[in-house]
């Protein structure tokens, strides 16, 4: 019965979304607070209904109710409970339900919390959010319903995908979807502003917290997915420029551009058209991602719930939603005032440069992802666009951006002065150059580009701190005053400093790990050892160690440096009889912020007929920073979100004054 209740709640949520749209539009047209308020109530109720539907689906998975088609196809009674819960969003239908949960959730927060928004703008935004909700809920109910029952239920579920039985992957989709769909509120506010014909500093201030929250969630979601690939796929790679990764990366890049351009609109009233364009683009890229990942038009190692028929429907939703929003933009944008003027050297120019580079980077990723399709459609020739392309195009763009980042916060609005900015950045420049030269001289093999990357990373980290140092007058005023000023720094400034420094931390880890990772592979009999750089990996033995739903061979490996055991590693190979799959459980030993990464390969026959095992060892220096960097960036976003400026109802006070 709970499943039928869930199906009902899902349909109820669809009806409530329709009602939300209708009431909000009526409320806006008649300027009726009652009707608009009822529209907001429908948004809250819609979220409630969807939460119940989602709970019903999770219940079906936890209790392994195989009479539900989705549960039968995507779960198994032998799965641990956590992964049965996570399986609820592991399929096409379930993931769409999670998408809708996030969508109605953000809609409910917009309806319930956005009290400082002007009444008309809010009613229109809630209506737009209602339209998006209606479209996606209709898709879920009609084409992708997770509550369909089977006439002839099987005794056991079909999927016990071992790769999905992983804690990082269990929490990765919720973060990613919160990020994707958080952009829908930004989109709704953008459309509402175009409809109302009002895009000013106040609007940018309302948009910013939503963009910040969505971008921070997306950052965490992407980092988790990358970390999962790093330790689960078994060869230490963490980014493959895979279409599915690109699909999540594009909204992130656009979101980052939007955060910066919204600052310009908020502080100076400039670039309103461009900011609203990005607000529309961010969610359009989210929808493009939802389509690409599920349609099967692109091949990917992460290929997800592929279904071409429903892919066409998703493409239709994308084209209709984004198309009408951009048509509205094309109609209304020319009437927008360009806003304040600024000099070539100014905070505005720096932020525009940031936007140019981030947009060019987005275009690069978009082309790199879709160009093979375009070429094939035009000339029938198949080509591949892989990592080497992105290294030659995307990476230089980002390198230029990294050079410019520390300048932005140091330049004044309207007309900046380069000389003091340079002076403040002298320590960063000196330390960066020293780091680069040190890498060039000390590290083997000698790598010029990676050394340059290292210099850039140090420049970014120290340069980001330079602005904070300047604000607290570090070393220029007594320590007590610096501390007082430190406490008085606005959270927004802290957020920016952290996010920029986090980018530097990421660049440091990414460059170092990519350039100076070491690997070795050898077949070992028990007692033999393998050298990886300064490490000696001694294979002690390999034992059968079966788990609840798998059979495993687990190796005991002692990792020694200078004859001393530093860690004991237990990499394993698992065989899951239910699906007939073999997986490799990597063993990772963290040494400071570096990883010793060991993989147990297949068993072979040695020279004397005794069994030997293929053991691969990787030394991934500074690998932790690759994932810590995005963590620091997301933290910066969240701290920025708690800034007084964004919490205080600026608009409400303004309206009260008027």
């Amino acid at each position: 019965m709970i499943v039928e209740f869930g199906a009902f709640a899902l349909i109820l949520a669809l009806v409530l979304s329709l009602v939300q749209t209708g009431l909000s539009i009526a409320g806006r047209l008649r300027r009726s607070a009652l009707l608009a308020g009822a529209g907001e109530g429908a948004a809250l109720a819609g979220f409630g209904a969807l939460a119940l539907a989602f709970a019903a689906l999770v219940h079906a998975f936890v209790t392994s109710d195989f009479s539900v088609a989705n549960v039968a196809a995507n779960s198994h009674s032998e799965k641990p409970v956590l992964y049965r819960v996570a399986a609820a969003w592991g399929s096409h239908e379930g993931s769409m339900l999670l998408w809708n949960l996030a969508l109605t959730g953000f809609g409910a927060v917009l309806a319930g919390r956005g009290r400082d928004l002007p009444r008309d703008l809010k009613a229109t935004a809630v209506a737009v959010q209602g339209v998006i909700g209606t479209v996606f809920l209709a898709y879920t109910v009609l084409a992708s319903n997770p509550f369909v029952r089977l006439v002839d239920p099987p005794v056991e579920g079909q999927s016990l995908n071992p790769l999905l039985q992983d804690p990082a992957l269990a929490v990765h989709p919720p973060f990613l979807y919160a990020g994707y769909v958080g952009m829908s509120v930004v989109f709704a506010l953008g459309v509402a502003a175009l409809v109302e014909g009002r895009i000013d500093a106040a609007w940018a201030r309302w948009v910013r917290p939503w963009a910040l929250a969505a971008w921070s969630f997306l950052t965490v979601g992407i980092a988790l997915g990358s970390f999962w690939a790093y330790y689960e796929l078994g060869w230490g790679g963490w980014w493959f420029w895979d279409p599915v990764e690109n699909a999540s990366f594009m909204p992130w890049l656009v979101g980052a551009a939007l955060l910066h351009s919204a600052v310009v609109t908020e502080k100076r009233g400039a670039l309103p058209g461009w900011t609203v364009f990005l607000a529309l683009a961010a969610f359009s890229f989210s929808m493009l991602g939802a389509f690409l990942v599920r349609s099967g038009v692109l091949t990917s190692v992460h290929a997800f719930a592929v279904d071409p028929t429903r892919g066409v429907l998703l493409l239709g939703i994308l084209l209709a939603t984004a198309g009408s929003a951009f048509a509205l933009f094309a109609w209304r944008a020319p009437s927008l005032a360009p806003g304040g003027v600024f000099a070539p050297v100014s905070r505005e120019s720096a932020l525009v440069a940031n936007n140019i580079l981030l947009s060019a980077a987005t275009l690069t990723v978009l082309l790199g992802t879709l160009f093979p399709l375009i070429r094939e459609a035009v000339s029938g020739e198949a080509i591949s666009v892989g990592t080497p392309y992105f290294n030659l195009t995307f990476t230089p763009l980002m390198a230029i951006l990294c050079v410019l980042v520390p300048f932005g916060p140091l330049l004044a609005w309207k007309r900046g002065d380069l000389a003091p900015a340079f002076r403040a950045l002298v320590p960063a420049l000196v330390l960066g150059v020293l780091a680069g030269l040190a890498a060039l001289w000390l590290l083997t093999p000698r790598k010029a580009f990676a050394s340059l990357g290292l210099a850039l990373a140090v420049w970014l980290i120290v340069g980001s701190l330079a602005e904070a140092a300047q604000r607290i007058r570090l070393f220029k005023a007594p320590v007590s005053e610096s501390l007082r000023r430190l406490r008085g720094l606005p959270r927004g400034a802290w957020g920016a400093t952290l996010a920029h420094a986090g980018l530097g931390v990421f660049v440091l880890g990414a460059c170092f790990e990519t350039a100076w990772k070491m690997e070795a592979a050898q077949t070992l009999a028990p007692g033999q050892s393998l050298r990886v750089g300064a490490w000696e990996l001694v294979l002690k033995d390999v034992r059968k160690l079966d788990g609840p739903n798998f059979e495993a061979e687990t190796a005991r490996i002692s990792a020694r440096r200078d004859g001393q055991e530093v860690c004991a590693l237990n990499p394993a190979r698992r065989f899951y009889p239910a699906g007939g799959q073999t997986t490799s459980e990597v063993a990772i030993c963290s040494v400071d912020v570096s990883h010793l990464y060991v993989v147990l390969g297949e068993q072979r026959e040695g020279a004397d007929g005794q069994p030997v095992w293929l053991v691969r060892g990787f030394w991934n220096p500074l690998a932790v920073l690759i994932f810590a960097g995005p963590g620091v960036m997301a933290l910066g976003g969240l701290i920025s979100l708690t800034d007084r400026r964004l919490r205080l109802a600026a608009g409400r006070r303004r309206e009260a004054k008027a």
Partner: protein
């Protein structure tokens, strides 16, 4: 309909991708040649895999391709010759770095074009702003002078501008 495509693809990926290229059974005796072959592997697509280079894949085809590339390298072919040989045999699809050709011109030049277009737009925006004061008409100048004298710079409307840090 079964929704196990993800499961299948992911499982395949896991089964096939175990840093295959470093297998000691495949290695070339000359370390310099081996190093060159390993760099080439990263540019070559494992065509039956989802989206991987032959460096990462344990699929049979990838093993074969690695053997062939190693043979070419051992025979003394330089990188360009190995790439040409691969493209002749398997088509452009096999290379993960698309050729810099007329058909791929958009792909290669779009990033640069985007930066140039953006830079020009910024330059135009900044220049038009710089010229603006010179275009002040005589009337406007007179009005401005009047305003400055009358308000003495203390226009209350300016106080609630978004620049105000306390706003």
């Amino acid at each position: 309909m079964r929704r196990t495509a993800f499961a299948l693809a992911a499982a395949l990926a896991s089964a096939l991708c175990l840093a295959a290229a470093s297998d000691p059974a495949e290695r070339l005796p000359d370390p310099a040649q081996e190093a060159r072959a390993r760099i080439l592997f990263k540019e070559v697509r494992c065509m039956v895999c989802q989206n991987e280079s032959i460096e990462d894949s344990e699929a049979e085809l990838a093993v074969d391709l690695r053997r062939l590339v190693r043979e070419r390298v051992a025979a003394g072919d330089d990188d360009v010759a190995v790439r040409r040989w691969l493209v002749e045999r398997y088509g452009e699809f096999v290379m993960l770095r698309p050729a810099f050709s007329a058909a791929n011109l958009v792909l290669w030049l779009a990033p640069l074009a985007a930066v140039l277009a953006g830079g020009l737009a910024l330059a135009a925006r900044v220049r038009s702003a710089g010229v603006a004061p010179e275009q002040l008409s005589a009337e406007e100048s007179a009005r401005l002078a009047l305003l400055v004298r009358a308000g003495d710079g203390h226009d209350p409307a300016l106080k609630s501008s978004p620049d105000d840090p306390k706003a």
